[in-house]
Structures are given as structure tokens and as C-alpha cells.
Subunit: 164 residues, 2 copies
């Protein structure tokens, strides 16, 4: 039986997703404890919903989920939770989709960069020191100081290409 390579950045389909969600929340709790941040019930639940989805997730889908559970959420409820999670570095916003995804820390020390499959909607954070270096060089040449990078590469992942 053919297995997808375990070390692929896109191996999300073959993973233990229960453990994946659990680990993400544990990491979040650890980070918040370390930094003196409050991972409140709403914030925790929004993060959990995003990881349950394990795909770029829209604010209003989160809103609908929260409302189905507790019936009293308005847009600010969700956007405030998202702002907190973004500031804490626990999620990223995918600008080209107006959607949010859990940070798996795969970008390491560098700026986050994403491969986004349009077919299956899965996203991989990739590290790439070479990209960081090249961009830093271009910025320096222009006398430009970098604050934030939005690097979102759209296309087709290996699995989706294979199945046509």
C-alpha cells in the first residue's frame, strides 16, 4: 500500500488529527502562560475551531459555530478573539483568502510563508531562509525596513495533482 511521504509539508491528511488539535491547544496554553496572556474560553474555542478545521477558516464560519454553541456571539466576539490570537502568533491571516489558519510554527524564526492548494484548500507553512535572505537583500538595496511579510503561494499540492 502506497503511503504519502510522512515528511511532506502537506501530510495533513495522514496525520493523527485528534492529537494535532490537542497539541496545538497545549502549545497555546504554554505560550500564554509564559507570556502572561489570558487564553479565555472564547479565545480558546476559536483557536480550537480553527484547528479542528485545519484549513483556512473564515471569521463568519467561526461566528456561526460559536453561535450554534452558545447563541450570543456577534462579529466583534470573533474578531476580538482573532486579533488576540494573531497578536499572540497562534494563528495567521491568509490575506488572499480572508481567512485564518493555526500557526504550526513551521516557519521557524523567519517570516511565515504559505503554500496554499486551491483544490483541497490545505495550507503548508514553509520555512525558507533563502527567500528571507533574498528579500532582506532587496529591502536593503532599497533602504527599506521590513515589518511584516505576506507571502502566499497559490497552486496545487502533490496529492491533488496526482488525483487529477
Amino acid at each position: 500500500m502506497i503511503q504519502a511521504p510522512e515528511n511532506s509539508v502537506f501530510d495533513a491528511s495522514g496525520h493523527d488529527h485528534g492529537a494535532c488539535i490537542h497539541d496545538a491547544l497545549t502549545r497555546a496554553e504554554t505560550l500564554c502562560a509564559q507570556q502572561g496572556l489570558r487564553l479565555t474560553a472564547i479565545r480558546r474555542r476559536v483557536l480550537e475551531l480553527i484547528w479542528e478545521n485545519h484549513r483556512p477558516t473564515k471569521a463568519y464560519d467561526l461566528l456561526n459555530s460559536i453561535n450554534a454553541e452558545r447563541g450570543n456571539a456577534a462579529p466583534p466576539t470573533v474578531y476580538r478573539a482573532l486579533d488576540f490570537l494573531l497578536d499572540a502568533g497562534l494563528i495567521h491571516k491568509i490575506e488572499s483568502l480572508n481567512a485564518f489558519i493555526g500557526c504550526d510554527a513551521a516557519h521557524g524564526d523567519g517570516h511565515p510563508k504559505f503554500l496554499i492548494c486551491r483544490a483541497c484548500e490545505r495550507v503548508a507553512e514553509i520555512p525558507s531562509p533563502a527567500v528571507d535572505t533574498a528579500l532582506a537583500r532587496e529591502a536593503k538595496r532599497a533602504g527599506f525596513t521590513i515589518d511584516h511579510e505576506t507571502i502566499e503561494i497559490g497552486g496545487t499540492c502533490a496529492a491533488c495533482a496526482q488525483r487529477g
Copy 2:
């Protein structure tokens, strides 16, 4: 008297902006003529407004301008013009700002990449074969086929950093 370096990618403040707008429109007309595309009055005016602004420009600002001039524009009027200009490669969308900017072709053959100054809102398209190469390598490693790249680097340009 101190002059900004003329060869800077961010030299928009010292340029002949009248000629800049005129050149952009001439390029657009040439391109459309070559490709059998129709640069209609609305499309031409939207492109002109974007170049007059010479900054990332929001759809509703364009809508208001058009309305001030002719009084009968609705959102589709502007969005259809923008879609045409995007398809023709005459403008780019800046996803992180929900705004549109004229293409100055500085990205050359590669995917467009932008340096975006948060202070003065100016944008520079930069070429960077090194970035393209590094991203292509990462994509290949992941078995990922690239369709489209969104690369938007936010920060502070040299002029804005200098004036504090």
C-alpha cells in the same frame, strides 16, 4: 540641496508625475491594441485615477471619484473595470490592503513582489529572481505546482525612516 537617489525603487516623490500618468496610459493603449482588448472610457478612467493617485487605491474611492464625475456608477461599474485591468496585467491587487495599484512592469518576467511603506503608503514593485528561485525550489521540494504568488512586504521606506 539633498536629493533622493534617482534610481531608488521608491523615487516616486521626485518624478514627473504628469509624464508618469501619461506613459502608463500610453502603455495600456499599446498593450490593448496589440492584444485586441478594448480599453473603454470607464476602464481607461479607472486606470488613470489609480495612476493619478500613484498609491494603493480602494475600489470605493474609485467609485466615489467616478460618481463625482458622471453620477451614475454602482459598485459593479468599478469592479468590472478592475477585473479587466487585472486580467490585462495593467494593475495589481494588494491583498493586504484590499487596494489596487498600477503595474509599472518592474517585476519583469517574474511574479510581482511589493515593498509597501506603511508611513507614506507608497509601493515599489521589485524584481527578485533570487526570491523566485528560492520559492520555486521550496515548491518543488513539496511537489507543489505554483499558480499565483502574493508577496507583499510591509515596512518603512528610506525617505520615511529618515524623516523619523
